[in-house]
């Protein structure tokens, strides 16, 4: 089984008040020097079978039509190497 990760972020020009609220809380927590925070979404898809070009193309389509709204969001698709977890 392989994992494909889809990251979805608001486009740079879209205001992200949630990210701003997080950023404004940072000094209070003692974190200095972080000038901007943008909040996004991460989807981890566990794929049955091989992650070949065809599978990736389908996931790309899924991300474009459903996981992200491309009017306001950008997305990236990447295959993640899953370390064999000890059983």
């Amino acid at each position: 089984m392989a994992r494909v990760v889809v990251d979805v972020m608001l486009k740079p020009e879209i205001l992200d008040p949630q990210g701003q609220a997080v950023q404004r809380a940072l000094p209070r927590l003692g974190f200095e020097g972080i000038s901007d925070v943008r909040q996004g979404k991460r989807f981890e898809l566990e794929v049955d079978g091989p992650v070949d070009d065809a599978a990736l193309a389908r996931i790309h389509e899924l991300a474009e039509s459903f996981l992200a709204n491309t009017v306001i969001e950008d997305f990236t698709v990447k295959v993640e190497e899953v370390a064999e977890a000890a059983k």
């Binding site: 879209i14 008040p17 009017v71």
Partner: protein, 233 residues
């Protein structure tokens, strides 16, 4: 023959009953439609009501947009079926791309619930003909994800084509000291498609159809507009 107006219920819809009631008060027959049912029961128009369909998971309206009823609705809306999306219904219409743009979290991150002054910008759509262009109306507004957003090109196009249907009143005495309630670009509260049969807005006209419940009856013309259009069609 009675005019039949469908109201879709999704899991998490809240205002489907109020929308049905508004339809009845306007003199049409409300028809309950179910999200899992592709059949629109030969209704003459459809309302997508407010609420939190599918818990607003992923994005408001994103999952509802792929429900079976929407498959038929998208096809028929493109063929001219009148559709009104209120609040969550507007979010769903944006997700289908029947209407351009998208709704994001309110810029101040708070849920808004108040009576809101709007200006009717387009009184030529299927759902707004009983208003006059420029008329100011009071309609309840209640949402968390109401910030209308589109790119500059789309905004300019909407303005040039007269497709901004409603705008929030943000200054002058009529605005009651409130500004833009959610950060919507160009104070846009509602828009229409090119043909004028598909209209979406964040405020809730179905909650302003009876004086008994306060706020007046400024929402009623939505429902009488569509009735007149269908009767004279």
């Amino acid at each position: 023959m009675t005019t039949r107006i469908g109201v879709v219920t999704f899991p998490g819809s809240l205002d489907d009953r109020d929308a049905q009631r508004a339809v009845r008060i306007a003199g049409a027959e409300p028809v309950a439609l179910w999200h899992k049912d592709k059949d629109l029961k030969q209704v003459d128009a459809v309302i997508l009501p407010g609420g939190f369909s599918y818990g607003d998971y992923l994005r408001a309206g994103a999952i509802s947009r792929f429900s079976p009823v929407m498959e038929t609705l998208i096809e028929q809306a493109k063929a001219g079926l009148p559709v009104l999306g209120i609040c969550n219904g507007f979010q769903i219409l944006a997700e289908t791309h029947l209407l351009p743009g998208a709704m994001l979290r309110n810029n101040h991150l708070h849920f808004v619930c108040r009576d809101q002054k709007l200006r009717v910008e387009n009184a030529d759509t299927a759902w707004t003909s009983d208003y006059a262009a420029g008329q100011e109306i009071l309609i309840p507004l209640k949402n968390a994800d109401g910030r209308y957003t589109a790119d500059e090109y789309t905004l300019d196009k909407l303005e040039a084509e007269g497709r901004v249907a409603f705008r929030y009143l943000t200054d002058g005495p009529e605005a009651d000291g409130y500004g833009n309630p959610n950060g919507s670009l160009r104070n846009i509260a509602g828009i229409t498609n090119e043909a004028g049969n598909v209209v979406g807005l964040m405020p809730h006209p179905e909650h302003a159809v009876e004086s008994l419940t306060g706020g007046g009856t400024d929402g009623l013309p939505f429902f009488t507009s569509i009735l007149k259009k269908l009767v004279t069609a």
